[in-house]
């Protein structure tokens, strides 16, 4: 048995599957022999379309690695990764780049924006790179939702940290990607600015039906998600639906306290 895997089924549209991204038996190892370190140990996970998923876990648990592999930024040692029904493991750089450009959005912890471009240019950058015309109506809606209408001509250096991250989220949304990956998108922000960004991510799921996967170690951030997946030592050890900050914190404390067996939801550990 594997954990956190749902049986693929058709989604509401009928044309695309309900699973936005899948990992199958994914192993990511660094080094060889004595110095071999396994960052991901036969991970299976399905990330559902239209859902906001948070990946949590202690430092070194492999949560960032998992996200990087899912997003096609990193290669896996073995196993398969699918975005929609496309297997991305084994794709050449050219195709991967195009896939990232057209179908994936990114929000990093920091340094999300090109300093020489203004906010609007940063938002439309993936579209510009692809040579696509932005959908003006959609763009306006995104900009409005982000609440940056008056600051579009500002350079990143003229924006606050929270504003910068909101521009980054807007950029990720602008090309209407199938999935957005966030790597600790609020890690560098104070709680108020962080709440703004998280609220915005939440709304893009609720209002636009956007699929979002976010790596975080902040229980408050995780509480914005629909589902929390826990990683430890390169394996998925637990998951939680409709989390609250208290519940997430509680769960994490138990993991770090070394009593995972008492997990209330009966997480199956040491999966084969």
């Amino acid at each position: 048995m594997t954990s956190a895997v749902t049986i693929p089924k058709s989604g509401g549209t009928g044309r695309t599957s309900a699973v936005a991204a899948r990992a199958r038996q994914v192993v990511k190892a660094y080094g060889t022999g004595e110095t071999r370190v396994v960052a991901l140990d036969t991970v299976d996970v399905d990330l559902m379309r239209g859902e906001f998923t948070a990946i949590m876990g202690p430092s070194g648990s492999g949560k960032s690695t998992l996200m990087h592999c899912l997003a096609g930024l990193d290669t896996v040692t073995s196993g398969q990764i699918f975005l929609d029904d496309t297997e991305i493991t084994g794709l050449k750089d050219k195709k991967l780049t195009r896939l990232r450009r057209d179908q994936v959005g990114f929000v990093f912890q920091a340094f999300n924006l090109v300093p020489t471009l203004n906010a609007l240019e940063n938002i439309t950058l993936p579209l510009d790179i692809a040579g696509r015309k932005p959908d003006q109506e959609w763009l306006e809606r995104v900009v409005e939702t982000v609440g940056l209408a008056g600051r579009l001509k500002h350079r990143p250096a003229q924006l606050s940290g929270g504003q910068q991250q909101r521009v980054a989220v807007a950029r990720a949304l602008a090309s209407r990607p199938r999935i957005i990956f966030g790597d600790e998108p609020t890690g560098n922000l104070d709680s108020r600015a962080g709440a703004e960004v998280l609220g915005f991510l939440r709304r893009s799921v609720d209002e636009f039906g956007q699929t979002i996967v976010m790596v975080t170690h902040d229980p408050v951030a995780a509480s914005y998600a629909d589902r929390v997946v826990y990683l430890a030592d390169g394996r998925i050890v637990d998951e939680m639906r409709s989390p609250t900050a208290e519940a997430v914190l509680d769960r994490m404390l138990r993991f770090s306290g070394g009593h995972p067996q008492t997990s209330a939801t009966g997480t199956r550990e040491r999966t084969a």
């Binding site: 990087h68 930024l73 990193d74 750089d93 050219k94 780049t97 195009r98 990232r100 450009r101 057209d102 994936v104 959005g105 990114f106 990093f108 340094f111 999300n112 924006l113 090109v114 300093p115 020489t116 471009l117 950058l125 993936p126 510009d128 790179i129 692809a130 040579g131 250096a157 950029r171």
Partner: protein
Amino acid sequence: MTTTRNAVRGFLAHKGRMALSGIAVLLSVAFVCGTLVFTDTMNTTFDKLFATTSADVTVSPEDADAENASATGVPPVLPAGLVADIERAEGVASAEGGVFSTSVTVVDADKDSLSPTSGAPTIVGNWTDFDARTMEITDGAAPRGSGQVMVDADTADKHGLALGDAVSVIGVKGTHAAEISGIAAFTVTNPGAAVFYFDTPTAQKILVGEEDVFTDIHVTAADGRTDEQVKKNVTAALAGTAAADGGYKILTADEAGDQASADFAGVLDVMKYAMLGFALLAALVGVFLIFNTFSMLVTQRTREIGLMRAVGSSRKQVNQTVLAEALILGVVGSALGVGAGIGLAVLLMEAMGAMGMNLSTDDLTVAWTTPVAGVVLGVVVTLVAAYLPARRASKVSPMAALRDPGMPADARAGRIRLALGTVLTLAGAAALHATTRAEAAGDGSQWLGLGIVTTLVGFIVVGPVLASGVVRVLGLLVLRLFGPVGRMAERNALRNPRRTGATGAALMIGLALVACLSVVGSSMVASATDQLDKTVGTDFIIQSPSGQLITPQAVDAVRGAEGIDRVTEYKLLPDARITMPDGRVADKEWLNAADPSYARDLRTDTEAGDLADAYEPDSMSVFGDFADKYGLTVGSEVKVDFPGGGTGTLTVRAITSDEVTVDKGALYLSVDTAAKYIPAEKMPLDSMLFAGAEDGQEDAAYTALKAALDDYPQYQVMDRTDYKEALRDQMGQMLNIVYALLALAVIVAVLGVVNTLALSVIERTREIGLMRAIGLSRRQLRRMIRLESVVIALFGALLGLGLGMGWGAAAQQLLALEGLTVLEVPWPTILGVFAGSAVVGLLAALAPAHRAGRMNVLGAIATE
């Protein structure tokens, strides 16, 4: 102590980023050291050569080295009887007469010249024991009888000559045919001359036309006698026999060697200082490269420097750490440069070998001053370049350690910079303008120099401000074609105008000189062509490319050619002494003696009088400046002491204009007037002939002339088109040499572009990672970097070419006083350089773009 340790660690930590700076230092230092070692080695070689090839004591005619010594085609000689007189002198072991001449041409059976093309002389002489000291017969035997000649091995090799082959010596005494009886190889360095030996009577006959004469006498001292003692004794022995016309020159081996070396060193010095000039220019360009490197290192290490300050480093210590790093760079770079310079010198020696001058690496001379000069240059260049970045580093506040590093803030080009740069540029432009208004070339050239330096500094200062504007314009014209990638390239080039400005300025310097010289060069050709069209009435010009004078036989051949209407002889008379009516004397003047028809062959404007009158008996013309200087007017009478002849009183009948390019500063008189005062045997040969064809017979006459001179391959017949082409070729060759030397500065500038891009790529690692993550393809990324490079290169080219054309135009205006009346901008060259800069920009981006493309996306994002 910590300063030193930090500097060493800083240098080692960033050695990759300093590599190109090091190469820039290395190149400049290598060129300087290479030049010094090469010229020193040449001096050593020739000192040795002259020392070994000089006899203990040499006796020669007193006027043997005078300018006109061989103008008659016959060398000055001594009576052969002197040999016996000298042998009788105390301490003389032996004396031997030599006869040689360089006023000859030697051709093979196909009438192709065997003379060296490098400008080295052709020497024909008698084979003596003295020659046998430095040459070894490797094939055949020494020449005996008038039908035999021996040739040096290098010439034989080059022209594929073998024993029994026929050669002919063409001289003023006629053409003499002989068969090769032997081949002799130099046992010392052959400076590239072609040498032919006959036996003594034959050499005397064909070179001088009489027997029992020698051009010099080689004296060997007896054992135990010094050269000085023998010289004294020989001088005493000859005191009684002094011939009527002039005495003797008696030199010891040392004196002869020193004299020859001194003549040679003068030529070598010109080359040495020219090459050093270009090396220093490259060093100046290197300053910009190193300045950029240190600026970027300081920016990248702002946090680290802030931390150093926070934990207690003083401003001074920070400053000194940066300067110490520069010092290490300078020392390492120049130490490598000294080594490379010696290698370069060896390469140059090899190249000289290919041209026929065999230099031995045994003579490789590295004076102690050479490495010292190299290291001083390298260290000064790096310290000067690092001065401003070091000062900026010392101003970093301790707070910088705490701030989010983010990206370095856009460095804005300051208003002070704009103001200062504009003022300097305007001042320079004013000086250039003053140049064009100058009445005298002397004042004007000072203004020109000032204008060039000031505008250059002005452009360098204002460069970063200009960068913003120029890059935007280039962006509109070029980059917009490339969509968002082009836009990002433009933004990147604009991101730090100071860096773009300094990178472009480095390229600007070299290209400004290229543009300036090409404008002046093509204006020279255009002006000369223009003047030729306006002034030259002759159909044909006959002269020798190697400067051989024209023998009477050849003159007769020209006169006899079919379809020739008139022939004008033209001679240069050196060493005339002119005494003015007021008693002032102009010494060592050259006179231009020509037939009266020369006034038709070359129409020269006069300020006063009619030039045709100057060819009347006992008349002459002077040029404008000469007349002004000595207060001469038409009708003035001057006393002229002719070289090797009498004194005449000539009347100035015309004053020629100074605004000419052909025959500038000529003092004309007729050949007949000259012949009245100079005895026939002392009369110099013609240096050029001018011929006019009968009307309508131009083509036939051209063919006939070429046929008539078939036996004299040393002369060239040119019609006006040929002449203009020759002029253009000559200018083209000169410019090519200068361009080749400027290439060093341009190469360093291109390294500067590579350096800027490479360091920018490192600096923007995270940004590049981000853009790759959100979907920028490798190709797009590489194109972005290439476009940035092209824009920087075009910026530098635009500034440089604009500046250079301005300099060139100002120089032309100044030289208009000297006859450079036509301004011609060589657009093909200018546009070619501009387009070439774009290509250079692409090439410069190759490595940095490749490197950026290879970056691991995740690694790049994670970089701090």
